[in-house]
Amino acid sequence: MEQDLVERARAGDRDAFTQLAWALTDGLFAVAHRMLRDSGLAEDATQQALLDAWRKLPQLREVGRFEAWVHRLLINACKDEIGRARRRDVKLRLLPLLERVTPDASLSIEQRDQLERAFDRLSPEHRAVVVLRHYRFWSLGEIALSLGLPVGTVASRLHYAMQALRAALEADTRLSDGTAVGGAR
């Protein structure tokens, strides 16, 4: 059924595309928000990805890959948002996400802060693989297909990014334990 909608949208049926947009927007926005850590930028990136999808849809041959393709457009839109923000020399505001903090969260405020800072230091490419793997729970193959990268590259980026995030958590633990960063565990 979804493929039928994609086929119709590709042929220029705007109503069909609107239905697809309805189905996809929440998921796209959620991914963009995790990547950009900013609601306004995430809204812009989501809108841009949907608009790009509408414009470029006639070029999409593999209708069965519509969702993966739209996510690639979204990641590119997020990269553009980050690039624009950096060119404006505006540091992306690290959102504390107070609107929905899990009540029984295992994470301390300090750990969240460390993760936010470590994530902010990651490149957009690293952020993308982390979000798609550990938020959307896509396989490495699915991520590779969506981003147009070799699986080895995806694995490498994920390894590097997770290493950086783990290091942030461990640094917080050591600091909280009164152990100097880089000291004995």
């Binding site: 220029g12 750990q111 490149s123 490498s156």
Partner: protein, 372 residues
């Protein structure tokens, strides 16, 4: 504070915090921008003209669309919790026997000027979960299965004389005759090996071998397995895909910043000088193929000209062939007039001027037989 060794769980918990629902203004803003983009899709047949509708009908339309989508989602098994994955690698593994549809029968292109080529193409396809090497004519007909071993065989690569095929079986390099006979093991290391290709003189093979964490080093070995040696490695990241232009000139795909920096480079194996042919700051490049006369390189880019591009072997003269390249291995056809590339589960063909894009076969890793 107590230590929690399950850092992945903590990171996933951290990522799960945040909005899962987009504010209404996202769709509303998109709808407005969609109306403004009308001129960009001049063939649209059903412009509902959101802006011209009074508010109530707009709301009614949105509500109706929402009901339809929800119904579709429920009937299709639940998209809301986690959107259904479409077109992922799993569908390749479950694909039907590759039947080699001709361009005209594949249904993928209504273009009467669809690209065609002669010759033969080797590729790998998975049937009932078992990957094997197949051979087909350039029009997708006469598919022959070359390997029947229960192991997974993939990454076929032709010898310069078109008489032998190197391939990977369960992480080791093998060579067989073009008809699938005379299978010979070349490597037997415990590390994973992949992406073999012949040296230009046909006397040896190069391949990628796992090196450290998710990294690869490029090795060379004689066809009988002797004289194996490492040619090149990068401590940050190197892709397994590499090609010898001459005996001492190697094309590699490296990432010097350890993420987000893939570029194509030429390595002089005699002097050790590495020359970047592309600049990752203009967009990452991955997957590449050298033309048979070694004068041009086709490659995929994620830069401003996203898609499949061609450049001269010295990195000059870049031009976009098609934006419709999504990802996957690229190969020059034997006549050098068209390119083939893997797009999803399909091997596609396109002329060098970007016309005639068409599906050829269901499979992966196309390699065109020289001299055919």
């Amino acid at each position: 504070m107590s230590r929690n060794p399950d850092s992945v769980r903590l990171i996933e918990e951290w990522l799960s915090d945040g909005p899962d629902v987009a504010p209404d203004r996202v769709l509303a803003g998109f709808s407005d921008r969609l109306v403004n983009s009308r001129q960009e899709r001049g063939f649209m047949r059903t412009p509902p003209s959101w802006r011209t509708l009074p508010m109530m009908p707009r709301i009614a339309m949105l509500a109706a669309a929402a009901v339809i989508v929800i119904a579709v989602v429920i009937l299709s098994g639940g998209l809301l919790g986690r959107p259904a994955r479409v077109g992922g690698p799993a569908s390749t593994a479950q694909s039907a026997m590759p039947s080699g549809p001709s361009p005209s029968s594949s249904g993928s292109s209504g273009d009467p000027e669809a690209a065609t080529t002669s010759g033969q193409v080797a590729y790998h396809a998975s049937v009932e979960g078992n990957a094997d090497i197949y051979l087909a004519n350039g029009d997708g007909t006469d598919v022959i299965r070359l390997t029947t071993d229960p192991s997974a065989e993939m990454y076929p690569s032709w010898s310069p004389d078109g008489e032998s095929i190197a391939f990977i079986r369960d992480g080791d390099v093998f060579v067989m005759a073009a008809d699938g006979t005379a299978v010979t093991r070349v490597t037997s290391s415990p590390q994973e090996e992949t992406a073999p290709s012949f040296a230009p003189d046909g006397t040896g093979l190069i391949f990628g071998r796992a090196f450290g964490d998710e990294n690869w080093a490029i090795h060379r070995v004689d066809l009988d397995g002797a004289n194996e040696r490492q040619l090149y490695q990068e401590p940050t990241h190197l892709e397994a895909e590499a090609l010898l232009i001459t005996d001492d000139q190697l094309l590699v795909n490296r990432d010097l910043i350890g993420g987000g920096g893939l570029e194509i480079a030429r390595v002089d194996l005699t002097t050790g000088v590495v020359t970047a042919l592309t600049d990752y700051r203009d967009g990452e490049e991955s997957h590449f193929a050298l033309s048979h006369d070694a004068s041009r390189i086709a490659y995929g880019s994620d830069g401003p000209d996203r898609g499949l591009l061609i450049m001269n072997a010295d990195g000059t003269g870049n031009r976009l062939v098609t934006e419709e390249y999504f990802s996957g291995p690229i190969a020059w056809t034997a006549d050098g007039l068209t390119l083939s590339f893997q797009n999803g589960n399909w091997i596609s063909l396109i002329r060098l001027d970007g016309t005639g894009l068409t599906r050829l076969l269901e499979g992966s890793d196309p390699a065109w037989r020289p001299g055919t």
